[in-house]
Amino acid sequence: MNAPTHQKGMRITLRVWRQSGPQAAGAFETHVLESVSPDMSFLEMLDVLNESLVGTGKSPISFDHDCREGICGACSLVIDGQAHGPDAETTTCQLHMRRYREGATITVEPFRANAFPVVRDLVVDRSAFDRIIAAGGFVSVNTGSAPEANGLPVPKPAADEAMDNAACIGCGACVAACPNASAMLFVAAKVSHLKLLPQGAPERESRVLAMVDAMDREGFGNCTNHYECGAACPKGIPVASIARMNREFLRASLTSTPPRAANSDA
């Protein structure tokens, strides 16, 4: 990373989206921060702003965050028009202020999509993703019934590629970046992860049909090959996975018996 060098304490102007609830009208609010340390993470910069807002009795800015090390997927934010900000494969919590220059103006918005309604300010409801997983993003194996772990060898390249897809953190940046607010990269990552492993094979068809069906029901758009999702993904999930999902979907549509919910077992 070629960090521009700074003296301590930058002046930063923030234009932040404020919205008191899902039905309320939102608007940008401007705040000027006088001495932002380049070593701060983006969220720490918001912490500092919130401290000053609390100090003056104003309402602090709500934003989702938790692990602050780039793995939980809680943080979101569209920063200057880019989901998770300007750095490739970097979540907002891992973006640092040394990326910005003295005097910069930064615009901060929530992830915007019909399927992700705003809860408050920069916080959105991403529970649609959980419902897609509940529809079929699993291997149906009950605790206690598994065979010996090394009973079924998995070729290393397949395991590695499954891991590339399993690395998805479910943050929703793919949806926020897509002009159609499509969730296909998210769904494709799970379909690919489980398709590439022999453990996922028995439910290969029912899984992709059920997950795509759930995705459509949640109101996500369709893919028209803009590849913005891949550019925004903080974990580098390959967009080629979408092509795999489409193949899997077509194959399942042609070969499987009429779709049944993957989740209809006992």
Binding site: S37, D39, M40, E44, D47, V48, V54, G55, G57, S59, P60, S62, D64, H65, D66, C67, R68, E69, G70, I71, C72, A74, Q94, H96, R120, R126, S127, D130, I133, A134, A135, G136, G137, F138, V139, V141, T143, G144, A146, P147, A149, N150, P153, V154, P155, K156, A159, A162, M163, A166, A167, I169, G170, H193, L194, Q199, G200, A261, N263, S264
Partner: protein
């Protein structure tokens, strides 16, 4: 009957769990749906328990504080999960994992529990592989293992540097499968604010919907707390921001004993603090110590760049002090040694509160590409946070609070001193003694959730007469109004300070006087400061907004209020435990060469505290620990 009946079985160690399971009552499959279980928290322990119990036929309500169960902090565990598979044929066995864990815990864990953990470890791997967890594999397609955290055998399974993520996503997918099947009701963005006890039995909880601010009552036949550890009492820790002690603490105030709160783990390889804005610390997997060499300049105050300091003027102090384990000594030893070096003014970096972790020799030996293949994601993370390239300049590391071995006291069935209240994962105290070994937290969380509690919960459900209890019961009304009252009181203070600033101050007190090294006088001062901060909070905290809304500042303030009460218990425990063991180092109790000195005669027991009311000192109970198999010896890594 003593209130601390561990219910640990007797007889040959290797047969105890099997025999205990046979002796436990069973509930026939058709009857299971009559029972409603409340699972609080959806990390490894909570998700795995909720999924497994629902698969068996119980009705489950699962609550999590995040917007999705997949975000629980188990997700951040990097290194791996231990299991006694002995695939590498290097001499591992259930007995050896058991032995290493008891010894690594510095002889402060219950042998029966630890043996069970080692026994079920192998089935965890089987189950996770069947779920599709993409563990690392060898070219032949079989599972890969590595040695981790100083273990002399390779028993750690891993998925790149994201093992916790992959195991949690496995448990989460199992949980979501049950949600889809209608057997688990999942409630996200909920915070448990109180435990409801009816006729001495845990029968429900009061929670707050964090989006709407509404209070909710949930009644059931058992409550399972899977709410993680209390590391954030130190403010700066590697825990996620939402990690808190509230659920455990409220249960404690309702009668659950709190065990060994002073057993906290400080992880040696974290990225140092960069300034006052610091909101959390980031851990880097200790697998880095397999190839990185830890050093400081030989001369104190040496401000030269690391590359300009020749080998003859470097002190590779771990290799010097512990020739047989070198850089791979256990976490507590590595952390304390770093502190010693920094206290001796040999620390590096701008703050002087760091030591070097240097990959120069590994890169020269194996090539930069080989190092990248092993640790690429960690190096990238380090560079993102610090702006320095660790392939060229040694990393700077410093210890940080990472895990808490203490927690609510549980018996062999994982049941607390409140019947019907079960505690799983990091939230309980049971398996790691005074120090947890690397890659054992994931093992314990999943052992508790997948394999232990699904068997042991029947002892409660079938063994006690559980009359019907609904949320109309007076105990629910009482719990709800006390939760409401507390929140109203916090909002009513309208002082001048943010809860965050008080939390930071508490963290500094805990870190300086109750952290890596503790002494009687310092702990006494800490107790005074904690009490003063608690008064400060209730007189001067300022929380904007109201409770009928999504209010993150209010959520945090409630958690800080509980940390301010809990911190006192932690310091009291540290004060009364007049010995050094594992993560608890009392400077008065050390050997002439500065190693921890246990006192097995006086302290081979679990300290479990009973709440006596706000103004009273807690009552201390002891559960004696007996060691039938692994005889206490001095841990030596020299």
């Amino acid at each position: 009957m003593s209130r601390l009946d561990s219910k640990a079985p007797s007889g040959p160690m290797a047969e105890r769990w099997t025999r205990h399971k046979f002796d436990l009552k069973l509930i026939n499959p058709a009857n299971r749906r009559k029972f409603h279980l409340i699972v609080v928290g959806t990390g490894l322990a909570g998700s795995s328990a909720a999924a497994s119990l629902a698969e068996m036929g119980y009705r489950v309500t699962a609550l999590c504080i995040q917007d999705s169960p997949r975000r629980a902090h188990s997700i951040a565990a990097q290194g791996g999960i231990n299991a006694a598979k002995n695939y590498p044929n290097d001499g591992d066995s259930v007995h050896r994992l058991f032995y290493d864990t008891v010894k690594g815990g510095d002889f402060r864990a219950r042998e029966s529990n630890v043996h069970r953990l080692a026994e079920v470890s192998t089935r965890i791997i089987d189950h996770c592989v069947a779920q599709g967890v993409p563990f690392a594999r060898e070219y032949g397609g079989l599972l890969a293992n590595r040695s981790f955290g100083g273990a002399q055998v390779s028993r750690t399974f891993y998925a790149r540097g994201q093992t916790g993520q992959q195991l949690l996503l496995g448990a989460y997918s199992a949980l979501e499968r049950q949600v889809g099947a209608g057997r688990v009701k999942l409630l996200a963005r909920r915070e448990m604010l109180d435990l409801v006890v009816v006729d001495g039995v845990a029968r429900g909880i009061v929670a707050r919907n964090l989006v709407t601010g509404e209070y909710e009552r949930h009644a059931g036949d058992a409550v399972l707390l899977c709410t993680g550890g209390y590391g954030n009492v130190f403010y700066l820790s590697t825990n996620a921001k939402a990690c808190n002690v509230t659920a455990s603490w409220r249960a404690h105030k309702r009668g659950a004993f709190f065990a060994n709160p002073c057993f906290t783990q400080i992880h040696p390889t974290c990225i140092p603090v960069s300034g006052e804005h610091q909101s959390k610390l980031t851990l880097m997997s200790e697998s880095l110590r397999n190839d990185g060499r830890v050093w400081v300049p030989l001369k104190s105050g040496d401000k030269r760049a690391p590359g300009e300091i020749p080998d003859s003027e470097r002190d590779y102090y771990l290799e010097r002090k512990y020739p047989s384990f070198g850089n791979l000594v256990p976490r507590d030893v590595a952390s304390r040694s770093a502190k010693e070096q920094c206290d001796a003014k040999k620390g590096v970096g701008e703050s002087g509160m760091a030591v070097y972790l240097d990959f120069r020799d590994a890169i020269a030996r194996d090539s930069e590409d080989a190092v990248r293949a092993r640790y690429g994601n960690l190096f990238q993370m380090y560079e993102r946070i610090t702006g320095e390239n660790p392939y060229k300049v040694p990393m700077r590391i410093y210890p940080a609070v990472h895990y808490t071995m203490g927690g609510l006291w549980v018996d062999y069935n994982l049941e607390s001193t409140i019947p019907g209240l079960f505690v799983l994962g990091e939230a309980n105290f049971s398996d790691h003694g005074a120090n947890r070994l690397g890659a054992s937290a994931l093992m314990q969380g999943l052992a508790d959730g997948y394999f232990v509690v699904p068997a042991t919960i029947a002892a409660h459900l079938a063994g006690r007469k559980l009359g019907p209890v609904t949320t109309d019961h007076a105990a629910f009304a009482e719990a709800e109004s006390s939760a409401k009252e507390r929140i109203t009181k916090i909002l009513g203070v309208q002082g001048k300070r943010s809860a965050d600033s008080i939390h930071r101050e508490l963290g500094l007190v805990m870190w300086n006087q109750c952290g890596m090294a503790r002494d009687r006088a310092g702990l006494g001062q800490a107790l005074e400061k904690i009490r003063a901060l608690r008064s400060e909070f209730w007189e001067n905290v300022r929380v904007p907004g109201d409770s009928k809304d999504f209010n993150q500042t209010l959520e945090h303030a409630g958690r800080v209020a509980d940390f301010l009460e809990f911190a006192e218990l932690l310091a009291l425990d540290a004060q009364q435990r007049e010995e050094s063991c594992g993560g608890h180092f009392r400077t008065e109790h050390q050997t002439p060469d500065g190693e921890a000195q246990r006192d097995d005669e006086k302290f081979a027991h679990v300290s479990a505290f009973e709440y006596q009311g706000q103004a009273q000192a807690p009552k201390l109970h002891q559960e004696p620990l007996t060691f039938e198999i692994v005889h206490p010896s001095t841990r030596s890594y020299k």
